[in-house]
């Protein structure tokens, strides 16, 4: 594990090409699914433009404390939560140029007292811009999840997100399809974009979340689905996706490589590993 996030075993980014596909809802419920499996989990809402996790969890009025220049995450439902929303205010637009985005992201990497975590879920803003690139460059990601809706338009944009992670060598753990709807056992839904995306890219399909009223209601009530409606069909779908995600993480061998380093060639300080050291 990189020295940039000591004490955190796995960092998983949830991304989508398009906005509005339910990325934050998916992030929250996957995080809670992991908590219910007994893991220590943190959730970082890095969606600087539209941080929605505080509202979805009913904690928009909370203010994280600052201790020795680090932010203390808010605790709710056994989750440790930090959001851009706490920092910029819910109704204040975060109007940020590229360099500021990079700075904000950096603060989320190094400036939050997460403590020991098994999983840290990063809820990314939609798209393939500065925020996503900064993360890939600064955070040692275990992998990324791609969230899409079943329709072709969302799949098309999700594919761009997927390609971006490929370029920066972040393993893609799987595709989650949200808002799967109009399905009955007799007539399955005609839209199956998530599966198609999986077939064209070879990325595992982790499952679909049905268009279930409980998902929307729980969001409006500020009570996450997994806590408020654990017996709903959608909550069951999330549990299944969590299990498949854990399988994927175990299969994704930790990438061999040099790890994170900053090597001063003059003094020799911080030198990366060598083959000779690895095989003495």
């Amino acid at each position: 594990m990189s020295n940039k996030l000591p004490g955190i075993q796995h960092v998983i980014a949830t991304s989508s090409g398009k906005g509005g596909v339910g990325k934050s809802t998916v992030s929250i419920n996957l995080a809670l699914g992991l908590v219910q499996k007994g893991f220590k989990v943190g959730l970082a809402d890095v969606d600087i433009y539209g941080p929605s996790i505080p509202v979805l969890l009913g904690i928009e009025d909370e203010h994280p404390q600052v201790l020795e220049q680090t932010l203390i995450p808010i605790q709710k439902h056994d989750l440790k939560i930090m959001s851009m929303g706490f920092l910029v205010g819910q109704d204040t637009p975060a109007i940020l140029r590229g360099p500021m985005i990079t700075k904000f992201i950096h603060q989320f990497v190094t400036g939050v007292k997460w403590g020991e975590l098994d999983y840290l879920i990063l809820d990314l803003p939609p798209g393939t811009g500065d925020a996503q690139l900064s993360l890939a460059q600064n955070v040692p990601l275990t992998g990324a999840l791609v969230v899409t809706t079943p329709q072709a338009i969302s799949v098309k944009v999700a594919l761009r997100g997927l390609r971006m992670f490929e370029k920066v060598k972040v393993p893609i753990l799987g595709i989650v399809e949200n808002m799967q709807g109009w399905a009955t056992p007799e007539s399955p839904s005609p839209f199956r974009g998530g599966q198609k995306l999986s077939e064209t890219t070879g990325v595992p399909f982790l499952g679909s979340i049905p268009m279930d009223q409980t998902v929307a209601i729980s969001g409006d009530e500020g009570q996450p689905l997994m806590a408020a409606y654990p017996d709903s069909e959608a909550a069951g779908a999330f549990r299944q996706i969590v299990s498949r995600l854990l399988d994927q993480i175990n299969h994704t061998a930790s990438p061999a490589g040099l790890g994170s380093f900053k090597w001063n060639l003059g003094s020799g300080e911080g030198a990366p590993p060598t083959r000779e050291e690895a095989n003495p």
């Binding site: 890939a136 460059q137 600064n138 040692p140 990601l141 370029k167 920066v168 060598k169 972040v170 990438p255 061999a256 490589g257 040099l258 790890g259 994170s260 380093f261 900053k262 090597w263 001063n264 060639l265 003059g266 030198a271 990366p272 590993p273 060598t274 083959r275 000779e276 050291e277 690895a278």
Partner: protein
Amino acid sequence: MNSFSREQITPVGMKQAGQINGIVIQWQDGEDLEYDFRGLRLACACAACIDENTGEKLLVPSMVPVDVKALTIESVGTYAIRIIWSDGHSTGIYPFELLRHIGEARKQMLAAQ
């Protein structure tokens, strides 16, 4: 650019070169490739050195000191390194795929001489 296997673009080690003013990158497939600093500096693919739209080389080789060397090398995510040079240049990111390509090309060129 040739396409490489995963082992060929995954570095497992890096150190100062013994004979030349440069570094050695050790790759997972067992290959160790040498890089001289000036060659690496000239291969910089950043927006100040290569025109983003036309791909035209903007860096003038004669402007790069013969004895240019890397002061600091740091990792960028898991896919690249960033080099801070003695001539003040620091914006170049070298993805491992590009480094493998540069290293192979240099080796072939030396073998042909």
